[in-house]
Symmetry: C2
Subunit: 139 residues, 2 copies
């Protein structure tokens, strides 16, 4: 990771521990949608003493800083999205894979019902079977 990146993370008020740097590195240019366990497993080899608490703590900080988004595609566990540009998602009900979907052309109008709410964002989630699971289910 280069100097500029390091300065950037520091400028956010983040203490740069080896574990955090490893998590940041893992997330950089990562277009998957890892669960806490995915992150934990990925870093375990390099940091055998690493705990889930560290993963959750770090991810909470990163979400607050806007460096990562939290997905609500599953109702049993958190999924994180390191790609923060506006986009949407598909969720495969069978294999739990998430597929990125570009922004939807027709821009959504803010519904009348929400005129007194403070809106921060919206997500569109498509549900179904990914190509692999689709063909498996037809056998």
């Amino acid at each position: 990771m280069n100097e500029e990146k390091l300065r950037f993370y520091k400028s956010l008020g983040l203490k740069l521990t080896p574990q955090r740097l490893a998590i940041l590195e893992y997330l950089e240019n990562n277009r998957s949608h890892p669960s806490a366990e995915d992150i934990y497993n990925a870093l375990k080899p390099r940091f055998p003493s690493m705990s889930f608490a560290t993963v959750y703590n770090t991810m909470e900080v990163l979400v607050k800083k806007g460096l990562v988004k939290e997905l609500s595609v599953e109702s049993t566990r958190k999924r994180f999205d390191p790609f923060t540009h506006p986009h949407h998602h598909f969720f495969c009900k069978s294999c739990k894979k998430v597929i990125d979907v570009g922004t939807i052309k027709n821009n959504i109008k803010i519904p009348e019902e929400l005129k007194d709410c403070e809106l921060s964002e919206y997500q569109i989630i498509f549900f179904g079977l990914c190509p692999e699971c689709k063909s498996k289910s037809k056998q």
Copy 2:
């Protein structure tokens, strides 16, 4: 609950036990978005022996039959929606309340990325603070 409703539920192949009838009755004309616990608490007074397993089992059946939808607004617990007409949702990050939003005028085009997927539905979820939590946060 009237005869017609009973016949309808039976026609779906549902065995009509008192607990199920109570859950169905609770859901009828219910425009909230209960969690399993909400349902459990609502029925506990009438059915002190009722267990969570029964709630989950029944809801699973109802979701399969299409009488209830499962929402993915929270990543730590399930929320159910007994109102199955097409519509979308707002989720308050603070009090976890869900607000219904009518269908969005511009119909969403199926994204190119998903052309090989088998799509079953999509959800649009707005996130932010509901009017109450918004005013509280400004004090």
